[in-house]
């Protein structure tokens, strides 16, 4: 009776030790620990099939193998249980056999081995034999252990899948709210954060600021060195901004390199909060202007910052961000202050700007643009060509200054449309000119090409197409580029200009001497003419340094087989001086102001 009760007690204790524990390791530890106590085991072990990631499995594949999972105690005679004997071999041999349980006698003791389903082995080591009754009482316990292992493995798999799903969801949520490159918030998320910050500010009667930071010169890094370097710099900028601001500051990135910061919980007192924000802005400017040392080189950036204060919920998040951006744009445009607070007049100016842009667009549709021509002469006063100059004859305001509308057009893609207009109109006019009798020395009409036009992939085909369309000799058209527009994708621009040269359209470098391009590039640009900027020409006969510069430009042109023409010639003395220096072509009021096409037709006659 007592033996029966004792066996039942052992069974129940072991089953209870397995319990409801879901963690496989904990469950098996409890079981092995109790096996030591109840069965007087010296050591006990569990081996379980595991996949290549050492994760226990019970549904087997070919890659899975039986591996040691846990022993109690974990060591024997001071060393790891597995190393102390060939236990793994014993477990594997038994696992491969058909038996479900067995006894293996070795010099070190008796090994009672039991299969855990088709996926594991349980081993009890004892000094002496277990009674037959105890042995026969163990299989139900082993079955329970087997089922609990399966449940635990299933639970773990389920937990793993749930965690995986959570991770994926978290990743999707992260991707939806963050910028991939910098890990900062994106536009959507910063708007959400700002909406919350506005609410908090109103509730807490505090003040908040939105800063819009735009990096200057950043595009040059991307264009000249490559996006991989630009990305590195951008990540460093993000890190530096993070380090220079409070951890609570919300930081986002828009449009590639415009940063938005939300700084809230500031004192309601405007003067106090302005002082704090002033310090933060100064720190950000300082941190961005420190050179970025990369393996590719050292890079310097600067930034402009616009900011807008919020104390109530009269403006929504979108408006506040927009205002900060307007202030930033204004700071950039004026380039006087690195940071500007938003003022409503900025929006008015911006609206004017937008309205003006619309008018330019309308002017193109209404054909309000026209080309005027400034003739070019040689030293014998022969007209050798003319430069086409764009004029906007506004229906109500009359002629607009190009100095106003060209920069505005350049900010948008309108400059492309305008450039196309100029190209086509010039070709059309050349055709009309050629239908008349041209002066003997008249060579060509030149047109100005903007940086954006030159950068367009279809620029060359457009020019060739237009020349072909109007059936004019390619040599009757010259394109004028400035040094600075070559700074973008230099190789592609040179290739394009070479193609045009082969076709017969020549190239001039306009405003020479004012750009900042390396003189080393000059030889590579397939230009046939250098146009000396008017700033060197004015009063050249009185200014020795300008005389020296022009002399140098002429020498330079000769060395690369280019002709020179002086722009802005207004006095006879200037002409004499230029001839003396070796310049034999001129353009300027001394010879002729820009004139309409009809006047040009008359002029040559």
């Amino acid at each position: 009776m007592n033996t029966a009760m004792n066996i039942m007690s052992i069974q129940h204790q072991l089953v209870l030790a397995i319990g409801e524990e879901t963690d496989l390791k904990k469950m098996i530890y409890q079981f092995l620990h109790l096996a030591g106590q109840c069965l007087n085991a010296t050591n006990s072990h569990v081996f379980i099939m595991q996949d290549q990631q050492n994760t226990p499995v019970y549904q087997l594949t070919e890659e899975d193998s039986l591996q040691h999972f846990l022993s109690f105690p974990s060591r024997r005679d001071g060393i790891n249980t597995l190393l102390s004997q060939n236990l793994e071999q014993l477990a594997n041999q038994f696992f491969e056999s058909d038996a479900t349980s067995g006894i293996i006698e070795q010099s070190s003791g008796l090994y009672y081995v039991f299969k855990l389903g088709h996926f594991g082995v349980f081993i009890i080591e004892r000094k002496s034999a277990l009674s037959r009754e105890i042995q026969s009482s163990l299989p139900p316990v082993i079955n329970k252990l087997t089922n609990s292992c399966i449940a635990s493995i299933n639970y773990r798999t389920m937990l793993f899948e749930i965690n995986m799903r959570k991770e994926v969801e978290e990743q999707i949520r992260y991707q939806a709210t963050h910028d991939d490159l910098t890990g900062l918030y994106n536009r959507m998320e910063v708007q959400r954060c700002l909406t919350k910050a506005i609410e908090d500010t109103v509730t807490e009667k505090k003040t908040g600021y939105v800063l819009s930071i735009n990096l200057m010169n950043f595009k040059n890094i991307n264009d000249a060195i490559g996006y991989h370097v630009g990305d590195k710099v951008l990540r460093q900028v993000a890190d530096r901004i993070k380090k220079s601001t409070d951890k609570k500051t919300t930081i986002a990135i828009f449009n590639g390199h415009e940063f938005i910061l939300i700084i809230d919980h500031l004192p309601a007192n405007k003067m106090k909060s302005q002082l704090i924000i002033g310090d933060i802005i100064a720190e950000i400017i300082h941190t961005i202007e420190r050179p970025f040392e990369l393996s590719e080189g050292s890079f310097s950036l600067s930034c402009f910052i616009g900011y807008e204060r919020f104390t109530d919920n009269k403006k929504n998040a979108q408006d506040i961000i927009k205002n900060a951006s307007i202030a930033m744009y204004e700071a950039f445009k004026k380039s006087k202050d690195k940071a500007l607070a938003y003022k409503s007049i900025m929006s008015e100016q911006l609206n004017d700007h937008i309205r003006y842009t619309k008018e330019i667009k309308q002017a193109l549709i209404n054909n309000d643009f026209e080309l005027h021509y400034q003739p070019q002469f040689d030293h014998l006063y022969n007209m050798v060509g003319a430069e086409a100059l764009l004029r906007w004859n506004h229906p109500t305001r009359g002629y607009e200054s190009p100095a106003v509308y060209i920069p505005i057009a350049e900010e948008s893609d309108l400059i492309i449309d305008i450039g196309n207009y100029v190209l086509e109109q010039a070709c059309r006019d050349i055709k009309r000119l050629r239908q008349r009798t041209l002066p003997a020395f008249f060579q060509q009409i030149s047109i100005n090409i903007s940086a954006k036009q030159l950068a367009k992939r279809d620029f060359v085909s457009n020019v060739i197409g237009m020349v072909n369309k109007y059936q004019i000799p390619p040599s009757s058209l010259k394109i004028e580029i400035t040094e600075s527009i070559m700074m973008g994708n230099l190789e592609r621009s040179i290739d394009g200009l070479n193609t045009l040269l082969k076709f017969g359209v020549t190239c001039a470098i306009d405003d020479f001497g004012t750009g900042y391009s390396s003189l080393a590039y000059l030889k590579r640009i397939p230009a046939s003419l250098l146009k000396i900027d008017r700033s060197f020409v004015t009063d050249i006969h009185l200014d020795q340094s300008n005389k020296a510069i022009i002399s140098m430009i002429i020498q330079l042109a000769k060395s690369v087989n280019m002709e020179v023409i002086a722009e802005g010639v207004e006095q006879e003395q200037e002409v004499s001086c230029l001839i003396e220096l070796g310049c034999y072509q001129f353009q300027g009021y001394y010879f002729s102001r820009p004139i309409t096409f009809n006047d040009l037709l008359k002029f040559k006659h």
């Binding site: 974990s74 060591r75 002496s128």
Partner: protein, 371 residues
């Protein structure tokens, strides 16, 4: 075996005497100090700590209800053992606050002593996780290690700092003294089954709530009434619990005594865990059986001669049970092993390896170690 330690003894409760003895020993060629002191010395903690801080050698040990020196027990005094072998001491502190991380904590703290195979373990008897500590410690150190030890504290079961460390006297702590020499132990108790088995139908840790589906207190009272053929009142516990402990019997017949020490008239609190679904028995003994058991332990140890150091951890409840005959039990051991002074303590729960090698918390037992 280790070289014989230098042993100093004082039967005074004076801290000054203790200090003098420690300082004197430290002048000798020793590697560490093992202090075995009586809790009733009531040392002033601040002064005691100063002595411990000042000790330049590794210091260890504990305060117990009684100490044993040359086969006699003392309620006051101290034994100062100058160890000739260098002890590696690990103090596992704030054990009751560690909870789920106990296993990891023990594993991390035990790294410096993992090459050792001989351990003296002294635990704060009032720390409820002492037995869990022993389990995890055994799991980490593995089979093939030898341990002796016991619980420090006092019979009033009030929690107080009772373990000596170089950082002062501390509680809620288990101290492991790793010895770089072989340690041999033997255990015995002399308790036999007189009734049972009873099924433990509700238990948690040290607390047994129900036996055979009845309130443990009521059931325990009934079975003792049957044994003594007397109707007992509710004061029976203090008189009979020390005579009738519970016992857990292993499948190889080894009896693990579980000593009931307190009751709330519903559950019994034992020194050591009792598991749900386990079978327990009612045990009893008498002085002859106890003496015989101690004699057997001494005889077994005698076969291990030669040795230089004898260290006894004897359960305080044996002393309470044997009363004036307790000294005779100590004399039996000392006389059998007369060439070596018997030192040790009457402890609250003993620690030693059982037959299968597991380190277990024992009750009402004699644990004798030699090194």
């Amino acid at each position: 075996m280790a070289e014989a330690s230098i042993v100093r003894f004082t039967d005074s409760s004076s801290l000054q005497d203790l200090n003098t003895a420690i300082k004197g020993l430290c002048q000798e060629n020793i590697q560490g100090v093992l202090l075995i002191a009586c809790v009733e010395n009531n040392y002033l903690e601040t002064q005691l700590n100063k002595i411990l801080f000042d000790c330049q050698l590794p210091i260890c040990g504990g305060m117990f209800p009684k100490i044993i020196y040359k086969g006699k027990s003392y309620q006051h005094g101290a034994i100062i053992v100058g160890l000739k072998v260098k002890p590696d001491i690990v103090n596992y502190e704030a054990l009751s606050q560690i909870d789920d991380q106990l296993s990891d904590y023990i594993e991390n703290k035990s790294q410096p002593i993992q090459r050792h195979k001989s351990f003296i373990i002294i635990s704060d008897a009032m720390c409820k996780v002492s037995e869990d500590f022993v389990d995890h410690f055994y799991n980490f150190m593995g089979s093939g290690v030898t341990s002796i030890g016991g619980g420090a504290g006092s019979l009033d079961f009030v929690s107080r700092p009772v373990i000596f460390t170089n950082q002062g006297i501390k509680g809620d702590l288990t101290q492991v003294i790793a010895l770089p020499c072989p340690l041999i132990n033997d255990i015995g108790h002399g308790w036999d089954i007189v009734d049972g088995p009873y099924l433990v139908t509700a238990a948690k840790g040290h607390y047994v709530h129900s036996l055979n589906y009845q309130s443990t207190y009521t059931f325990y009272k009934e079975i003792i009434q049957n044994k003594v053929n007397t109707t007992l009142d509710d004061k029976f516990f203090n008189q009979y619990a020390k005579q009738y402990p519970l016992g857990i019997v292993s499948i190889d017949g080894e009896i693990l005594v579980r000593d009931p020490i307190q009751t709330n008239f519903s559950y019994l609190e034992c020194v050591g865990n009792i598991l749900n679904n386990s079978m327990v028995y009612l045990l009893s003994s008498d002085k002859d059986k106890m003496f015989a058991s101690s004699q057997q332990v001494a005889n077994n140890i005698a076969q291990q001669r030669p040795f230089n150091n004898l260290l006894l951890f004897n359960c305080i409840s044996r002393d309470l049970f044997l009363e004036s005959d307790s000294e005779q039990e100590l004399a039996i051991i000392q006389n059998t092993l007369s060439e070596t002074p018997l030192i040790g303590a009457m402890v609250l729960g003993e620690i030693a390896n059982t037959d299968n090698g597991m380190i277990r918390l024992l009750n009402k037992s004699t644990v004798l170690g030699v090194f």
